[in-house]
């Protein structure tokens, strides 16, 4: 059993589906942050069998985690201060996601316009449907 130490301030993202921690790492753009990040793959889990965990040591206001709600709302977000869990953050679906998924409609302007961001707007909160801002094509989570 591998032990990864406590963090003083930041987030512990728990219950990530096994093997998906690197995708989450990319989407949260953790590579751009100058902070300590622990990526734990295939940890044992009573609930899931295997799971991934991300520990991010950073100012808790530094990270926008809304995109997690779109990617996988089963992820548990523990907010850490002074080495303790101060609360479990509820994930809220973002109204807009930018450059997280790409529009797959070949007739959409995003397929040809240079440097145009792929923006999806939340069209139906209940069904978690996002549509391309430009052509209204449904977004798919298959990244």
């Amino acid at each position: 059993m591998l032990n990864v130490g406590k963090i003083e301030e930041g987030f512990v993202l728990d219950h990530i589906k096994a093997g998906e921690s690197m995708d989450i790492y990319e989407h949260l753009q953790l590579g751009k942050l100058d902070c300590t990040v622990a990526i734990i793959k295939n940890a044992r889990s009573n609930k899931m069998g295997k799971k991934d965990i991300l520990k991010v040591e950073c100012d808790i206001n530094q990270l926008d985690l809304d995109v997690l709600a779109f990617l996988d709302h089963n992820i548990t977000v523990n907010v850490i201060k002074d080495g303790e869990i101060v609360h479990k953050k509820a994930l809220v679906l973002p109204k807009m996601i930018k450059n997280v998924i790409r529009c797959k409609n070949p007739r959409c302007i995003t397929s040809i316009e240079q440097e145009l961001p792929h923006i999806f707007l939340l069209a139906d909160e209940e069904k978690e449907v996002y549509r391309c801002k430009y052509c209204e094509e449904k977004g798919s989570k298959n990244l």
Binding site: N105, R107, C108, I109, T110, S111, I112, E113, Q114, L116, D124, V129, R131, C132, K133, Y134, C135, E136, E137, K138
Partner: protein, 305 residues
């Protein structure tokens, strides 16, 4: 600055004001003949169109304004690889208002985001065609007297027919409207439209045969099965004659049903139908000019005393 991307960009009240203005233009054309003196409309058409482009140009000329533009992407800097964003930034320096047609869906919205002048979506791929919708609404309002309490049949290419999608989006805002979608399986209305109707509890049915539903309709909106929307010629040839309106089928309709069509017609409405008083598609083309005149005045904030 206001743009027109979708019929929903205008509230029902704003549309009502637009239609009242169009009514006044129809009744008093001389009053508006110099309203756009010194103003320039740019028509940026990246895909061929005769009717829409000419009706925009006619509208601006009848308002006393001037027109410049291109009618094919091969005649524009797009052929050299210029982005829509760069084109509109340049056009904003040359004109006061722009009407844009583009084969890619959402292109006019990209233009509007970067533009210094009002942009009108004059058709973007299979997505939206709001000025056709304004034309359709004005035609129905003028000839029926109201836009609520209607059963509207839409027939033909409902999958790629952008006029149909825009019209549905606009009509759902009026009370007690019901839709009947008449199309072959391959050209059914897309799921984002039916999802929206279910969400709003607006009744609709999807049928294959035109004859069966004809007596129930207040409006029959015919559309062309467009060659350019198909990936192969075989599918086009197989489906293009699927739904043809002739006098026999029209005999099943009520005496005050209106037949609308965005034009151009190929053969989906027999020429013999043209003399029937219910055939309103050429009047519709005339209303298209009035409503575009009203739109140009509204987006340029020009009022005529």
């Amino acid at each position: 600055m206001k743009h027109l991307m979708s019929p929903l960009d205008f509230s029902v009240e704003e549309l009502e004001n637009l239609f009242k203005l169009a009514d006044d233009i129809e009744k008093n054309p001389a009053k508006y003949a110099s309203a756009c003196n010194g103003k320039i409309l740019a028509t940026c058409f990246y895909e061929p169109s005769t009717r829409t482009r000419l009706s925009f140009e006619s509208a601006m000329l009848r308002l006393g304004g001037q027109v410049l533009g291109f009618s094919d992407a091969s005649n524009s800097s797009a052929a050299k690889g210029e982005s829509v964003s760069d084109t509109i930034r340049t056009v904003s320096c040359y004109a006061d208002i722009c009407a844009m047609r583009h084969p890619k869906e959402g292109a006019p919205m990209v233009a509007a985001e970067k533009s210094g002048i009002p942009v009108i979506n004059a058709g973007d791929g299979g997505h939206q065609h709001p000025t056709q919708t304004l034309t359709d609404l004005l035609t129905i309002r003028s000839l029926k007297g109201h836009l609520d309490n209607l059963t509207i049949g839409l027939c033909g290419d409902l999958k790629f027919g952008r006029t149909v999608h825009s019209l549905i989006n606009a009509l759902v805002r009026y009370p007690n409207v019901r839709f009947v979608f008449i199309s072959p399986e391959e050209l059914k209305v897309p799921d984002y439209i039916t999802d929206m109707l279910k969400e709003k509890n607006i009744p609709y049915e999807e049928v294959i045969r035109l004859e069966n539903v004809m007596p129930t309709l207040d409006i029959l909106y015919m559309t062309r099965v467009q060659r350019e929307r198909f990936f192969n010629e075989e599918d086009y040839v197989r489906l293009k004659d699927f739904y043809i309106l002739n006098t026999e089928k029209l005999a099943l309709a009520s005496s005050d049903m209106l037949v609308l069509h965005p034009l151009p017609r190929v053969n989906e409405i027999s020429v013999e139908v043209d003399s029937d008083p219910r055939a309103a598609y050429f009047k519709q083309a005339q209303y298209g000019v009035y409503v575009r005149m009203a739109l140009i005045l509204t987006l340029l904030n020009i009022t005529v005393a």
